[in-house]
Amino acid sequence: MAELRLKSSRFRAEREPDWRRLEALLTRVEKGSAASLSVDELIAAPVLYRAALSSLSVARATSLDQSLIDYLESLSARAYFLVYGSRVTALERAGRFFARDWPQAAQSMWRETLICFGLTLIGTLVAFILTTQDPNWYGAFMPAGMAGGRDPAATTAALRATLFDNYHSKGLSVFATALFTHNSGVALMAFALGFAFGVPTAMLELQNGCVLGAIFALFVSHHLGVDLGGWIFIHGVTELFAIMLAGGGGMRIGWALAFPGRRTRLAAAAEEGRRAATLMAGVVVMLLCAGLLEGIGRQVIQVTWIRYAIAASTGVAWLSYLYVPRNWPSSERSSQPDAVNAHG
């Protein structure tokens, strides 16, 4: 009777228990987490995976049972993602991000960040000069929703009140949260718009500067420029810097798409996109800090020179954290695209 059985059927009967074991293991991991595996299973997984792969090779070469090959392909692919998936824990990942990845990404994009800084500065200056000469420009630069009663018609006393009154003292933390979520949205948008070759990002940065210039022109005309500076920069150093970094990341993507150099366009976009995304994750962290400074710090601290002191120290802190050169431990491999080929 045995000789009646096809070789491929015998092959299958012999290997099937191993496949079933691997399948059960995968199902469990996919339902929960890798933590649900015992030590024995963790050791067995790669072995079973290689056995499944070898079965797949043999089956492709010798068996014509279509369902068997389909099954082994899907089983091997599932196991591949488990065995060659990322092994770092969330904590390690976060540690590496703060210690290395984020500053590294920021440093590699200093040019784009500088361009965004320049654009914001140009926007500020242009809006400042125009509004100073003709207050009617104010309405053109300032979105209606953002003005909040700060318009050319307001009295000096009223403007002063917006800078120092504790008008939000009751709902400080809610205010901080709302600002953080809003600003993160703006920053993410500046980043994503970079895909359109960076043009809308540049416009967003310019416009951001224009708002700043217009409001400064208004307050300077009432001799409140210095106080406004304190009011804005206590959080604005962090916030504006974050939005410039986000814009810089976006521009890098747009640049890589437009001028990929010797890489293919797709490879260039993917490589720069991942680096920019790392920077972007940092931007969200910065905006969280800015939201806290704006919502709580600014309302609690009502003295202009202390506000300036905080602004200056945040500026120094961010710049030195991100840009001071240091010796990176050399482990570049994980982000390199040829990781798989290197193994083979």
Partner: protein
Amino acid sequence: MAKKPTPSVALAVAPNARIRELITPEGVDLRLQLAEASERAAAFLLDVAIMVGALIAMTIVVIVVMILAGVAGGQAGFEAMAIIWLLGFFVLRNFYFTLFELTSRAATPGKRIMGLRVASRNGAALTADAIFGRNAMRELEVFLPATFLFANGHDVDALLSTLGIVWTGVFVLFPLFNRDRLRVGDIVAGTWVVKTPRRRLLRDMADTDFAAHRAFTFTHAQIDAYGIKELHVLEEVLRRYEAQTVAAVAARIRGKIGWTRGDTEGDGDFLDAYYRALRGRLEQKLLFGKRRRDKFDTA
């Protein structure tokens, strides 16, 4: 199809345009299948439905707790709930996709239901920055178009909104215009979305009741009437085992190979026996390096 000059090529086992090579470090090609645009759209809509559902549930819970806290804790309780809602909304809007794709399944609930997952295009491990990047781009692909679509008529004039919709439409429909169904986020992050179907191991159709096959002995000429493609069709027929189809296919094969039907011969038994004989023969040829694609393949 029959009109094509080289039928053996045209009829080769259904070539799937979405199959991509993924060579493992062990040197085996896993032949990943990319997700169709329709599947991804369905997964996305499922995710949106889940997000909206979660948002509604969260809002109801927050309002109820707010009322209770407002009675008990006053202003502080009220504020705490407002912050929880704002942060919850923020996380849901910006990090729903990212957080789910960071898990070992690398898929949001919608993708899981559709049997999809995110994978790195170069075969390396999927990194957190790639996942963050591909989802940050949704700002451009989802939220910006939505802003234009639901733009308030008082704020922006119609022409501007329309232009906005057309412009952002380019990003929304991006996956339809490339071979790999990459959306903007996939391009920027170096990822794509592949199918990870969970297939069950089905019965081996050649491993059946041998006693019933004793009655059938086919000559080499009779077995050589068909190739691999026909074998796979026959495998499907036997798996489904619909009486009418089985009878029709059995009659067809008998006609082709010139087999005279015995008095007590069942169609199913005949097909079983022929399937095993054909598979055995073709597999034997396979061992000698000959892969006979279909009945036209005479090489």
